[in-house]
């Protein structure tokens, strides 16, 4: 699908313009002002939101407060797989002559300053490391074998940061785009490519919406679409970023701020049992999760 879009950018249509972005910004600033009044965040100690924290605040506020070092539930395999597949696809986007391998992807991560994967691999037995790398190759190889060459006119960029400061910096919403193509100042429409090593799930859409919102508010023009690519099941989804989608993304961030404010002020965090409870590190001590089980 990516190859088709690169060949026919007109399929993407125009991105949402300044009026929609202004409405989204106004909505966010209102929520931020109200949230800061309750939550007490400051420029020095701001509320920091990213795709995961927004998702968790809306799904289960208690889960959103879990120590981030425990959030993976001790199983780092999926995180490592995710990083390797992401890095391989990013390398492929940068245009090597031969499709990148898992070793290339691990090397690219290290060269880019992230030693998480190489450290984790070094901590495993040789058999366990080989098994993990084989699983990574099973996901990465088919992905990069079909990855199209990206023409330079699309300005291929990887790991591009986007940040939004609300309430004068007391709330910061940030994201790092896997791949960004086109958009200003190029004449081509913006296309966010979001990579997932695992299978497609619904939250992938919301992550893409948030990135589109951040890029739109940063650049003054929203990307035309988000393309989600999931290596685990081969699913790809192209979502046009219509005005309603952008406003919904802004509403989700606004709601996350509203949920976070009383928590920051010291009120207890409610639990909302949901299908992700089995993977939550709080589950053994969470009465609501136990009852739901």
């Amino acid at each position: 699908m990516l190859a088709e879009l690169l060949a026919s950018p007109a399929r993407l249509g125009p991105g949402a313009g300044p009026e929609v972005l202004a409405e989204a910004c106004s909505l966010l600033e209102s929520a931020a002002a109200a949230g800061v009044a309750v939550g007490g965040w400051t420029v020095d100690e701001p509320l920091r939101l990213a795709k995961r924290s927004v998702r968790e605040l809306l799904t289960c506020p208690r889960r959103a407060l879990v120590d981030s070092s425990l959030s993976a539930g001790g199983d780092l395999t999926n995180l490592v797989l995710g990083d390797i597949v992401d890095a391989g696809a990013k390398l492929a986007t940068l245009g090597p002559r031969v499709p990148p391998t898992v070793d290339d992807a691990v090397g690219f991560l290290a060269a880019s300053g992230s030693t998480f994967v190489s450290d984790h691999l070094a901590s495993l037995s040789s058999e366990a490391a080989a098994e993990l790398l084989a699983e990574a190759a099973a996901r990465l190889d088919p992905l990069v074998a079909s990855w199209p060459a990206v023409p330079g006119a699309w300005w291929p960029r990887v790991e591009e940061p986007a940040r939004l400061r609300l309430a004068g910096g007391a709330i910061v919403v940030s994201g790092k785009l896997d791949i960004l193509l086109g958009g200003p100042p190029t004449p081509l429409p913006g296309l966010v490519v979001e990579l997932k090593a695992g299978r497609w799930f619904d939250a992938v859409r919301y992550d893409g919406h948030l990135y589109a919102l951040l890029v739109g508010l940063r650049d003054g023009v929203a990307p035309a679409a988000v393309l989600s690519v999931c290596a685990g099941d081969g699913a790809t989804q192209l979502e046009p970023i219509r005005a309603e989608v952008l406003l919904h993304a802004a509403e989700r961030v606004a709601e996350a701020i509203t949920v976070a404010a009383p928590l920051a002020a010291g009120e207890p965090a409610p639990a909302r049992p949901n299908p992700t409870c089995p993977y939550c590190p709080l589950r053994p001590t969470c009465p609501e999760a136990q009852a739901a089980a």
Binding site: L65, S112, P161
Partner: protein
Amino acid sequence: MTPTPTEPATRRGEAVGWADGVRTDVAGRIEELVEGLASDADPGAVYVGWFAAAEVAGCPARFRAGGVDGWDFPGWSPQSAAASVGRSALARCVDRSSELPDPLGTVKAWMRDVRSSPTSYVAEWVTHLSQTGDRIGLAATAALAARWIAGFVRVVGWPFPEKLALVVDDPDSPSARRGPPPWRPRLSTRRVPVSVASKPDAIAGTVAPSGRFDVMFHRPNSRDDLALAERAAFEATAASLAIGIVPAHVVLSAADTGERLRFPVNDPLLTRGADQVVEVIRHRLRAAGPLAPGTTEFDDATPGPACRYCPTADDCGPGQQWLARPRRHNGLPVVSLG
């Protein structure tokens, strides 16, 4: 309305004399600090740049804990080379074409060009990567440098403002300029060599006694920068000291937020910047000397989230107090297990 004496318009014609005044003032304040230094203290060379100023503003105690060695260049890596490679590649590209540059293609073309005859330290490093077959290191460098170019062009705007010159190590082109050397005040007490550095990414306009030029600083990722006005103050003063002419504006841009702010340089801004420069030197000298009676190493610590990563937090009372508060992460309380 009649402009006040601090507004840039009334000082432009005397931008050189204005910078001389800043130099005289800062040198005098440094002289006083050095004269107060204990006779057996040896602070070594004192280098003042924005990172040092930001560290002092963040927490003076943590800055002093770095000892007298101060900040040192960590060596080239894809991260540390990104801006240098990006500027060099972009300068070469805009000399050759007025077309909107393709960031990745621009970087790759520059890498190919410099392999045959590297004319700067960063080009030598890139050539070394190439000669040793480190294609992944080259790819990472190209990715980060292309991101730098993309952000700079997007935020500064295309076509570039007239007379914009990128600051590079090998300015062999009309679109490039070598950065100013650090300012080294001549102190009557020659015990402490001080240098104040200004490292703009670009200069717009003509560096001339009229002072009608802007110094531009670009960040791909603004992270938790201090208030931008503080950065502008430091850079205005450092540029005036290093160049010897007061610039008209300091332009700060950030790729992640899309911000581009233009601060007019005036006396209050220069005074704030001079204070920052002097504070860096004061704390570097304090780190070299004995503690004054009634003080501790940590009496001026300004604790905050950075205490979690501070190498001296174990010994720092204010830091320990801050860390003993109920734990928060990203502005929210942390729920522990059990």
